[in-house]
């Protein structure tokens, strides 16, 4: 059995660039993290900052441009095809949009059985459909919808199919890519609770990608805030929420509309300008263009992560003194 003292998933200097006509698009640009078994890493950032690419690169849906991913201590890059296929059954992904990530021509039972069929698991058809029935029960889908097609179901039920598919191979690690952002608030809470229950029951490890800070708070052990392919802040959930360090993290909190009357009079600190272009980005802090606290030093050279307290790191030169 695998070693519990080492992280289940670890990324070192992970990079993923895409070729564009005008240069290289730096979607993921040197990211390090590790996730221990049974824990959840929340990845927060705005759209287009490379969150989904990071998730896809970690489970091997994209080939990394640089750096490496270690799964249970094994370097994913150095594996043969067969080994890789074997290890990839131990991880899976829940996709953002339950409307476009399910084949509209397959019924619910077939959709859930599909990963097992492809990987020749759970025996024959009969064995697989027994497992499908179990999975439907686990994720709270009534057996009577087994023969329904995705278009007949609402978003909440469709996302439950997505969760059931992700669980089909009994994985240890699941990348959840904005699993609730396409859903209504009352349904969001149902799915988030389901994911947390599954984690408690099965000891699952999650990487939870979202743009919504309030969602990530409830589910994460640690949080990584990303901006244009780089990690700008990392820490435990409490550290990030009680004492955000990076100006971008602070701006995210300030912009978050809170449903309380006091928020009416609170002045939101507005960021000026737009997100800069990730194609051939300039050196220095990527957030400098929108940062209210920008100095000349910010754009001169890349800013490393400074550790301001144990486990809490921020990539801002203002944190350099704190780090000592």
């Amino acid at each position: 059995m695998s070693d519990r003292s080492i992280p289940l998933v670890q990324a070192e200097g992970l990079k993923k660039y895409f070729k564009r006509t005008r240069g290289m698009l730096h979607a993921v640009d040197g990211i390090d993290f590790s996730i221990m078994r049974g824990e959840t890493l929340g990845v927060v950032g705005e759209s287009g900052c490379g969150k989904s690419t990071l998730g896809r690169t970690v489970i091997g849906l994209h080939e990394a441009t640089g750096g490496r991913v270690l799964f249970d201590g094994q370097d994913m890059g150095g594996l043969s095809r067969a080994e890789r296929r074997k290890i990839s059954t131990r991880m899976s992904m829940i996709f953002q949009d339950p409307y476009s990530s399910l084949n509209p021509r397959m019924c619910v039972a077939d959709l859930i059985a599909d990963p097992m069929r492809i990987n020749h698991m759970h025996g024959d058809r009969y064995g697989r459909y027994k497992k499908v029935a179990e999975l439907m029960e686990t994720v709270g889908l009534a057996q009577r919808v087994a023969g329904s097609y995705p278009h007949e179901l609402d978003g909440g039920r469709r996302q439950r199919i997505g969760v059931a598919r992700a669980l089909a191979l009994d994985p240890e690690f699941i990348v959840c890519d904005e699993p609730v952002s396409a859903l209504d608030v009352s349904i969001q809470a149902q799915i988030l609770n389901l994911l947390m229950d599954l984690q408690d029951e099965r000891g699952l490890t999650y990487m939870f990608i979202t743009h919504d800070l309030s969602v990530v708070k409830h589910i994460s052990t640690n949080i990584m805030v990303t901006y244009l392919g780089k990690c700008v802040e990392m820490g435990s959930s409490d550290q990030i929420f009680d004492d955000p360090k990076h100006p971008y993290t602070k701006a995210l909190f300030s912009a978050l509309p809170e449903p309380v009357l006091e928020a009416r009079d609170k002045q939101t600190e507005l960021l000026r300008g737009e997100v800069s272009n990730p194609v051939n980005p300039p050196s220095g802090c990527r957030f400098a263009g929108r940062c209210p606290l920008r100095t000349d030093v910010c754009t001169a050279a890349d800013v490393p992560l400074y550790e301001t307290e144990p486990g809490h790191m921020a990539a801002c030169i203002l944190c350099r003194e704190d780090a000592g």
Binding site: E46, S47, D154, G155, G156, R157, D184, V185, S186, I187, Q188, A189, Q190, L192, N193, M196, H211, D212, L213, S214, V215, K217, H218, F241, A251, L252, F253, S254, A255, L256, P257, E258, P259, V260, L261, A263, R264, T268, L270, L271, E274, V275
Partner: protein
């Protein structure tokens, strides 16, 4: 009874019903809603997918697809004019000039093969009641682009050259080009990131102050409601289940169980609790709405009477509730 034009509300909706017809079913999307929006005020229409928010907005604009849908009852007045009785030509002039709409998805609301300048110009040309010359129209295009914070020289660019936040600002610029008195914003920021959302909301607010526009804000986000609205209507299954000022809705006290459920289901950054409290069950099927109170199958406080009898509306200090818990007399 019709208000005189001078003191007429910007929008006055009375007992509105809207239905969609399919081959084998009638979808009751809006079921008897009434509200007023005064000049210079902001009303929030809050609710989840399928609550009838967008249908209400389309009915106000008279943009319902007429092959499949129709207003089945009630009246709509825009500045005292009966919208349903107006001839098409008059409605075409009112739409855009008096009342205009910011659509939900900036990615699809713009024409990809027309420059953004031409798209703004299009509405100015149709609604040229001030008889602007070509040059004056061009000047106005520059002006509205600057107003929403986009450099005027970018008017020759196509939508693909803009980011999501900028596209939404262009959609706003088109809606504002003719300085409408009434603006309907249908989830104007759902497709945007939080920091960009804050910028767009600040922009809408600034323009509202400057132009004295009446704003109907359609959203599912209670955080946006508290920041932008004066009054709130909470919609469920095509009905307004609770209506009141922002203070009334967001203060503790008597609330519709659905409103309470909505507040409970939002992940709160301040709470330390790990689990969330969802509203159990799903939105009812609009082709087969439940008997009695539409929320009763999901309501934690459901009583016997709720399943059989539709609750009447009770009112106190302008705070309206449609629930048997507060039935009969004015609720205490």
């Amino acid at each position: 009874m019709k208000d005189t034009k001078a003191n007429a509300a910007a929008i006055d909706v009375r007992d509105l019903y809207v239905e969609y017809r399919t081959d084998d079913a009638v979808v009751r999307a809006v079921n008897g809603i009434s509200f007023r929006l005064e000049k210079g005020r902001t009303l929030g229409l809050v609710g989840e997918t399928g609550a009838g928010k967008t249908t209400t907005a389309l009915a106000l604009m008279r943009l319902l697809p007429d092959r499949v849908s129709h207003v089945a009852g009630g009246e709509i007045y825009i500045r005292g004019d009966d919208v349903m009785a107006l001839p098409d030509r008059t409605m075409n002039l009112i739409r855009g000039e008096i009342i205009s709409m910011i659509f939900q998805d900036p990615m699809t609301a713009l024409n990809p093969i027309m420059t953004v300048g031409d798209q703004i110009k299009e509405s100015l040309k149709i609604h040229n009641s001030e008889k602007r010359s070509e040059r004056e129209i061009d000047a106005r295009v520059d002006e509205v682009l600057e107003l929403v914070g986009i450099p005027a020289e970018r008017k020759k660019d196509y939508p693909l050259a803009f980011s999501g936040g900028m596209k939404q600002r262009i959609v706003i610029a088109i809606a504002l080009a003719c300085s409408p008195d009434i603006l309907i914003a249908d989830e104007p920021t759902t497709a945007l990131d939080v920091t960009i959302q804050a910028q767009v909301l600040a922009l809408i607010d600034e323009l509202k102050q400057k132009l004295g526009t009446a704003l109907l804000m359609i959203t599912h986000d209670l955080g946006i409601v508290v920041k932008t609205c004066d009054d709130v209507a909470v919609m469920y299954a095509g009905q307004i289940v609770e209506y009141g000022s922002v203070q009334q809705i967001f203060s503790p006290g008597d609330h519709h169980p659905y409103t309470e459920g909505l507040f409970g289901a939002i992940p709160n950054v301040r709470s330390k609790a790990r689990r969330l409290t969802p509203i159990e069950g799903l939105m009812p099927d609009p082709t087969a709405l439940p008997e009695g109170c539409k929320f009763s199958p999901r309501c934690p406080k459901c009583m016997e009477i709720c399943r059989t009898q539709e609750p009447a509306e009770s009112e106190r200090d302008g705070h309206r509730l449609k629930c048997h818990l507060f039935g009969g007399e004015a609720h205490e």
